[in-house]
Amino acid sequence: MRFVLNGKTVDVRAHPMKRLLDVLREDCGLTGTKEGCGEGECGACTVLLNGQPVNACLVPCAHARGARVTTIEGFRGRHALQDAFVKEGATQCGLCTPGLIVAASTLPRDATPDEVRLALAGNICRCTGYAAIYRAINRARRARRTGLPAGAPRAPGKRAKVGRAGLPRRSARTAAKRARAGP
């Protein structure tokens, strides 16, 4: 079975009903994709299938045939989100981290705090709260906007105001802009 894995064409001999999760971990040797619940609740096994986040524990590998699959290894440790998760300490046991980063990578640039929370509703972290995770996602988005690496130290006094859930309070100007643009 042939598919494109992290940009490279691969050929795998596997039963068509084998879970994509097991094909990635056992046949392709990529163990960054984790198994959590095995029932589509936790999102630890999130990968991108043709650019869309899916639970690899619920995908028969037959459905990956001819498709593009991106795993956490495809981010090569250099993605702004990876850097931001490290800088914000947004990880504890780490099992949910690859899935969270893969899922968060598909967020539109202008997603509101609520949209971020909704988009990550399928990724569960059982160690801690989500505050540091949302902070990291926000940091990565800020980094992409300014073009600075996500790890760059922030200028003193310029720290974004952070709301209850670790997400920045939207400035009045952005809120007004958003209201004009409609939903």
Partner: protein, 276 residues
């Protein structure tokens, strides 16, 4: 994972015609598409059947189109497709709402409306919407096609009138007059299996459908009658409790479900009281 994969067989038809021939000649086969329910059973070793028919490449079963006055939603249309469809957001906003609350994004990207119907779970979140909208299920076999009114499609807990040689190809929704309302109550706001789910329409003839309170999705016709004849909300709530058959299970108690169902009816009636 608790299922031996090597004992399973997957047939991969290239066309709808191929699929129908395989169903007739090589059955029994379990049709599969988004796999978001099927693979949960596979992972837990509770799979029924060992031979599967993959419908996922039959692109003609995907997408939303018009069929006369009806909206035809192809069986392979995912809940992400449904949320993005301008036609559905305009004509059937309660379905767009339900689609946004079925699992997380990862599930919505894969799960199909045909699968939600075929599973016939009492907790299927799109089902009360389709029942309230008086949709029809379009079944196709090698011998021909038939249309089944939505509520007569289900015959019992996870049972339906679908024959083993048939597949669901689409669901057709006639125009819905009146204000649409949907609410799901689960353990958390996002991504949970429903404890009670209700879809309702407030028009000349109010329609109320519920999930997770009986072996199948149900329409509560006598409750609707009371609402239609301007009876009191309290009477309608009393009637609702006689029409549902809430049970206690791992997700909730019967008492909680009854209380919530009555509250949802009140919320629906209050929130749709004024046009707009």
């Amino acid at each position: 994972m608790r299922t031996a994969i090597s004992s399973l067989e997957l047939l991969e038809p290239r066309s709808l015609r191929d699929a129908l021939v395989m169903l007739r000649d090589e059955g029994p086969l379990v049709p599969m598409a988004g796999c978001t329910d099927l693979y949960v059973s596979l992972n837990f070793g509770t799979l029924t059947g060992s031979r599967f028919l993959d419908l996922s490449r039959l692109d003609e079963l995907r997408g939303v189109s018009r069929r006369g006055a009806c909206l035809s939603i192809g069986a392979l249309t995912t809940f992400t497709d449904i949320q993005r469809s301008a036609e559905i957001r305009r004509r059937l906003p309660m379905l767009a709402s339900a689609a946004a609350q079925i699992g997380g994004r990862q599930v919505q990207n894969r799960a199909t409306i045909g699968g939600n119907i075929a599973n016939a779970s009492p907790a299927g979140d799109s089902l009360p919407v389709l029942a309230a909208a008086e949709a029809s299920v379009v079944l196709l076999s090698h011998d021909g096609q038939r249309r089944i009114p939505f509520v007569s499609f289900f015959t019992g807990y996870r049972q339906s009138v679908r024959r083993p040689d048939e597949i669901i190809v689409a669901v057709e929704v006639p125009p819905v007059d009146g204000r649409q309302w949907f609410r799901k109550v689960g353990t958390r706001a996002a991504q949970a299996i429903s404890k009670v789910v209700m879809a309702a329409v407030r028009g000349e003839r109010p329609r109320v459908a519920l999930g997770s309170v009986a072996p199948t999705v149900i329409r509560v016709r006598q409750t609707e009658e009371i609402l239609a004849s301007n009876g009191s909300l309290a009477d309608a709530q009393q009637m609702l409790l006689t029409e549902i058959a809430a049970i206690r299970d791992i997700r909730s108690t019967a008492t909680y479900r009854r209380r919530v169902a009555a509250n949802l009816l009140a919320q629906f009636w209050r929130e749709t009281a004024h046009a707009g």
